[in-house]
């Protein structure tokens, strides 16, 4: 079975090609959009980067898995199984994505631990979050943040950092995982952590979250006052 590649960007493609990795593609006589590859009928082959929405000409070769010899694009139809469907790419793509997610999660966890409360500077965590969204999707971001949150629930700084980083997004962008994440963080015993989650909900300003705000358990007068302030604005 050929090795599939998940190409993050064109540099990645060039690097992998230079490393003599096997690359799978559909027959050049068929057009197929493959998670970022658009292989045209006309040579040279064209790769399409779904993130940047740019195309570029590339030379794409198949390396035989038996003798590792380079097979030119012209010969690729011969003895070549072209029955793989688009879904087959997604199966292997998910392995690649999992590796990338794991890498981002590791980096993000470190940055969130050093979450900077200073309003002047965009924290490294927020920059990394933007990168995840631009490279992958909000759904992947949700996957990463939920995982970090569960594994670090005993670290208030990380939870506050997650909440603060999500304030800049609209609820539409992060729904439904965003609300689920805030609900889980609201259960934390540290009322500062709760306040950060409420602040994120406040920024989303969605009336559907009123029932959540009205049922938060807290003891501090300041937090009760803050929740009342947020509710009074949402109820208008």
């Amino acid at each position: 079975m050929n090795n599939y590649l998940f190409i993050e960007n064109f540099e990645d493609l060039t690097n992998k090609r230079n490393q003599n990795k096997n690359v799978y593609y559909e027959s050049p006589t068929k057009k197929q959009i493959i998670t970022g590859f658009f292989i045209s009928e006309v040579k040279p082959l064209i790769a399409y980067n779904a993130s940047s929405q740019k195309t570029t000409h590339i030379d794409l070769y198949k390396y035989s898995s038996t003798d590792n010899k380079k097979v030119s694009a012209d010969n690729l139809d011969r003895g070549f199984d072209t029955t793989y469907s688009k879904e087959d790419f997604f199966i292997n793509k998910s392995e690649q994505i999992q590796k990338a997610i794991s890498r981002y999660k590791k980096q993000l966890r470190v940055y969130l631990q050093n979450f900077d409360y200073s309003p002047e500077n965009l924290s490294l965590a927020e920059k990394k979050i933007s990168e995840v969204v631009n490279t992958f999707s909000f759904e992947i971001l949700g996957n990463i943040l939920q995982s970090i949150s569960m594994e670090n629930y005993d670290k208030p700084n990380i939870l506050c950092g997650i909440c603060h980083s999500l304030e800049r997004f609209d609820l539409d962008d992060v729904y439904p995982w965003g609300t689920t994440l805030m609900l889980s963080i609201l259960l934390h015993k540290d009322e500062n952590v709760k306040a950060y989650a409420i602040s994120t909900i406040d920024n989303w300003a969605d009336r559907s979250l009123l029932s959540v705000l009205k049922n938060i358990d807290c003891s501090s007068d300041w937090l009760k006052g803050y929740i009342e302030d947020v509710i009074s604005v949402l109820e208008v």
């Binding site: 200073s118 002047e120 965009l122 920024n203 501090s220």
Partner: protein, 178 residues
Amino acid sequence: MYYIRKLTKPFNFNKIKCIKSVDDIDSDIIKQELSTKQNTLSFWKCEKLEHIKETIKAIILSTSEISKSKFIMLDSNIIKEYELEVDESNKGKTGYKGYDDLHIDICNLTYKKLGTILNAYKKVFEDDQNTCEYQKDDIKELILEVIQQGLLDIDNLNESLKKDIIKLTEKNNITIEK
């Protein structure tokens, strides 16, 4: 004359208001709300409250994100009462063209004077009339107003705010004039 500053976190208003004595305030609040540079604290002035929108625009275009914002307004009587020194010589960095001279510094700050400012905050917060609040959508509207007036200085924006504003203009099919 009013001197206006954005709170880092709106809930710090509640924390400062509810505490019995500022002596017991969390040290994180001092870092978040009274973070000084060269012993100065930035504020933005507003001659009359009828023109407060202009000052608010200058402030929000000097920050790093579009988010719900709460502001404290210290009037000149408070500045006098607490013997705070004001320096108007430094222009602020804001993406609101022509309004960088609204910036002022409360200067020559010491440990004692920071405590004084915190007490001033507490006094002001006990009277809600000297604070104002803008929801995230209101902030977006103010930014769009600035853009439509042709007064956005995109080169003077914080990088992350710039990205948020570009996203906002794309959503609203607006072009930023350079």
